[in-house]
């Protein structure tokens, strides 16, 4: 009994429930006429699309800024990079690199300002961050109309100005990572391109956290007064972490777009932070501790649920429950995590 309890404590009860539920879905799936192979491929594809946005949570959690509810700000940087890249007319893989390149300065500048703001509101970062995200989305909704884009693939057909709500990445960088090193084993399709792309950035973050600066960042998150007494500039570390999170958010949305095939503007980024926040929390992270395994496990579990529930549930009860379930899982998870302040599970 003691062993069971300590296992539960270290693995985390919610994570266990979600994992159990996902397993159940996979067991039930064949009986209601769903091909498990396709489901697994779907889950993996969604992992590739979303994992970097989940990774974007890590630096800010480490520096004690909490969960990055302001992810839409990073996403907007990514959107700016994406649209600018398409505007230049470059196609193919190069357009993806260009999008990353263009979005970087925006991410750095936005992240810097966002970081400065969060330094002024220590203690209530997450609430402020939520509204930073919301208001930047609203502001950009105006800007998408006004900015002088002219590429015919992006602007409204009837007026010739203002960007459309959804823009296809077809011919530019649609599926560019997904199709790279894509392996088919029976019915299961595994895209190593996306996984490698994620692995690269996960490695960079992991490595960063092992450097002197990364150590200082973790210490700032763990005990800011200790860090200050050790001569660390707490504000500078926090700003750096916010910049990193914002930049990863920009990368994350580009990765998402290549998998999804469309750029979503206007209200698109509004609630993008919630699934990412929820995923890392399911993965076992807490408000002040997160690791790369948390990101990987969390994204697989969360995206697994999101892929599997619609198909299985719909086939069982013939009603569309998927959205309801997704909302319960993601918001419930956020609520749960915010009410407990203990350390993360391993």
């Amino acid at each position: 009994m003691e062993k069971v309890r300590s296992f539960l404590a270290s693995f985390g009860l919610p994570r266990l429930i979600i994992a159990g539920f996902l397993l159940l879905l996979f067991i039930v799936a064949p009986f209601v006429g769903i091909r498990v192979g396709a489901s697994i491929s779907d889950t993996l594809a969604r992992f590739g699309m979303n994992s970097i946005m989940v990774l974007a949570m890590v630096p800010m959690i480490h520096s004690g800024c909490g969960l990055n509810f302001g992810l839409p700000l990073g996403i907007i940087s990514g959107l700016l990079g994406a649209t600018l890249s398409i505007e230049t007319g470059v196609t193919g893989p190069l357009s993806f690199l260009l999008a990353i390149l263009y979005s970087t300065p925006f991410a750095l500048i936005f992240g810097w300002g966002y970081g400065k703001l969060l330094n002024r509101v220590k203690g209530s970062e997450m609430m402020i961050a939520t509204y930073v995200g919301f208001s930047s989305v609203a502001f950009m909704s105006i800007m998408w109309l006004i900015l002088p884009y002219s590429s015919p693939t992006m602007v409204w057909g009837y007026s010739g100005s203002g960007l459309r709500t959804t823009i296809s990445t077809d011919g530019f960088y649609s599926q560019i990572l997904h199709n790279f090193l894509c392996l088919k084993v029976g019915t299961i399709e595994i895209s190593f391109g996306e996984i490698l792309f994620f692995a690269l950035f996960a490695f960079i973050i992991w490595a960063f956290l092992h450097t002197k600066t990364g150590t200082a960042m973790t210490a700032v998150g763990s005990n800011p007064i200790f860090a200050r007494a050790s001569g660390i500039s707490v504000d500078r570390q926090r700003t750096l972490s916010v910049i990193m999170s914002t930049w990863l958010g920009a990368l994350g949305i580009l990765c998402y777009q290549q998998g999804y095939g469309f750029i979503q503007l206007y209200q698109g980024p509004m609630y993008m932070a919630m699934p990412a926040v929820s995923a890392i929390l399911i993965g076992g992270a807490s408000v002040n501790k997160a690791s790369i395994p948390n990101v990987i496990i969390g994204t697989i579990l969360y995206q697994g649920i999101v892929t599997m529930t619609p198909s299985v549930m719909n086939n069982i009860i013939h009603t569309d429950m998927s959205e309801v379930l997704r909302i319960i899982v993601s918001n419930g998870m956020i609520l749960y995590a915010l009410t407990r302040k203990s350390g993360a599970s391993r």
């Binding site: 005990n223 200790f226 050790s230 350390g343």
Partner: protein
């Protein structure tokens, strides 16, 4: 008639421990009606714990209750909460005021016990809708103030009062309760001016004449002589001595308060070290705005290789000195290290010039509770001096050198005998004494030239205490590192230090060699000037 002879309050072999550290041992005393009992002792002697037990504070229950018996009128009582204590007629006035600033004295005195008038609405909504009977309220408040025998305007807003009047309002509130029989005053005169303190003492005598017993905790020994019938001196959780106030003197009390064995044991063990003429650190007109430990004007010179102690009672500012120099709280003045002025408020600059600081707030400032011991010990040295790092790409990437970190941690675990499962254990899982050793190891890893250690033995058990002090002594004598140790425990300072400075009221009231008898330091602490002490 037997009821009359029974003492109002009796404590029978009361004891208490926190996490295995005994803080009260076998405390016995009695208190009769109308008696005024003075309670003196250094900080940490167990006075507050004793009062917390008497008052049924939550901390006591949460940490496992207490041993022994508390008797009121000869019957044993166990208060589960302060409310029970209030009902039994015990009132307490704390050091911090708990008054509503926007209310008048009268309103504060009778807060939540206001006399009420029934109104029409009460018929419908019950007693919640009663109105306050202002006339009776005034009258009752004035009664309480008169009982106390002070002049206090019952209509004055608390926010506009001088501190003394706030104090009187607090006391009036306690004695306005009709059942009050015992009043505990915890350092009531600490914030008062001399004249106000005099008024308060008069008030205490008034209360005593009306049959209310008073327990009076103070550091001002003169007041004890002025007002108390008997005095209890506490040290290390024991009652050292129970004295008749009329037959004792300030030096006697001061001696009992601070001295373990007042024989020359401490000084004889330690040979007189000749002070070097080099001045490592000179502090001029230092002020520090640290809440509760304000430093007003400190001038201090620390000699090379010296072990300087800074003592004094709590709240006088001794802790503010290192915190201010290290830039953890706003400060000003001039600090010169080895002839070079150090910018105040710049922690990094201090650390860069080889000053290290072990904070008194272990858990808040001293440790990364959620991280491993390795991190805790190596972190400052890594950040400040680039130790324990592997450099790649010409120093562009500074990688944490896990091996070196483990080696240094293991070294200090062994050297300081830190009890832990491994160097990977989290700091929060260690006991207080071992946590303190981690803090020391962290400072040692910086290899400082000047080390500030603030309250290194606070809240740790006797064995760990000895080890910590031994480590500091060795560090000073073997490596010649200048150490400035701030401690509330005079005896501990006398054991380790060459000289001891006593801080009173935000300034140094005197510096004496550690070999001087402890009464001299006691005199400095209780505010007698240097001349008188000499």
């Amino acid at each position: 008639m037997s009821e009359m002879t029974k003492p109002l309050l009796e404590m029978q072999s009361v004891s208490k421990e926190y996490n295995g550290n005994p803080v009260l041992k076998d405390v016995n005393f009695t208190l009769k009606e109308g008696e005024v009992l003075g309670l003196v002792g250094e900080n940490g002697a167990g006075k507050s714990t004793l009062m917390n037990i008497l008052f049924g504070m939550d901390v006591i229950q949460q940490t496992g209750g207490y041993g022994g018996k508390v008797l009121i009128d000869g019957k044993e009582v166990k208060f589960a909460s302060p409310l029970d204590a209030l009902n039994a007629g015990i009132g307490m006035v704390h050091q911090e005021f708990s008054l509503l600033p926007g209310f008048t004295a009268a309103e504060n005195i009778l807060l939540n016990r206001e006399p009420e008038n029934r109104s029409v609405l009460s018929l419908v909504f019950g007693p919640r809708a009663n109105t306050i009977d202002r006339k009776t309220l005034q009258k009752k408040a004035i009664d309480a103030i008169t009982k106390l025998g002070v002049s206090l305007d019952s209509d004055m807003l608390v926010s506009e009062m001088p501190v003394g009047h706030k104090q009187f309002t607090e006391i009036s509130r306690e004695i306005s309760k009709s059942s009050i029989r015992l009043l505990v005053l915890d350092e009531p005169t600490a914030v008062l001016s001399e004249k106000e303190a005099e008024m308060l003492l008069k008030a205490i005598r008034n209360l005593s004449a009306q049959g209310i017993a008073v327990i009076f905790i103070t550091h001002r020994l003169q007041e004890i002589l002025d007002v108390c019938n008997k005095v209890i001196v506490m040290r290390d959780g024991r009652i050292i001595s129970e004295l008749e106030a009329e037959k004792t003197s300030i030096p006697e009390m001061a001696k009992l308060m601070v001295g373990r064995e007042v024989s020359a044991s401490a000084s004889s063990k330690r040979e007189e070290k000749k002070l070097s003429d080099d001045i490592v650190l000179s502090v001029k007109n230092l002020w520090v705005d640290m809440p509760g430990e304000t430093v007003k004007d400190v001038n201090l010179e620390v000699h090379k290789g010296e072990f300087l102690g800074i003592g004094g009672l709590a709240g006088q500012g001794k802790i503010g000195i290192p915190n201010g120099i290290m830039g953890l709280y706003p400060s000003g003045g001039k600090v010169v290290l080895n002839g070079k002025e150090i910018p105040l408020g710049d922690t990094r600059a201090c650390l860069d010039s080889s000053i290290a600081f072990v904070s008194e707030d272990r858990r808040g400032v001293g440790l990364l509770l959620d991280e491993s011991l390795e991190w805790n010990i190596a972190f400052p040295a890594m950040q400040i001096q680039n130790k324990f790092l592997k450099k790649y790409l010409g120093g562009l990437i500074k990688w944490r050198d896990q091996g070196a970190i483990k080696a240094v941690t293991d070294k200090y675990i062994k050297q300081l005998q830190i009890k832990c499962t491994s160097s990977k254990q989290k700091a929060k899982e260690l006991s207080g004494g071992n946590q303190q050793k981690i803090c020391l190891a962290k400072a040692f890893a910086l290899e400082p030239k000047l080390l500030f250690v603030s309250e290194p033995t606070r809240g740790i058990d006797v064995g760990a205490k000895a080890l910590v002090l031994q480590a500091l002594k060795e560090y000073n004598s073997k490596l010649g590192v200048t150490i400035v140790m701030i401690s509330s425990e005079l005896e501990e300072l006398r054991q380790c230090c060459d000289r001891i400075a006593i801080v009173t009221d935000g300034a140094i009231s005197g510096i004496l060699p550690a070999s001087r008898p402890s009464e001299d330091f006691g005199m400095l602490m209780v505010g007698k000037s240097k001349k008188e002490a000499n």
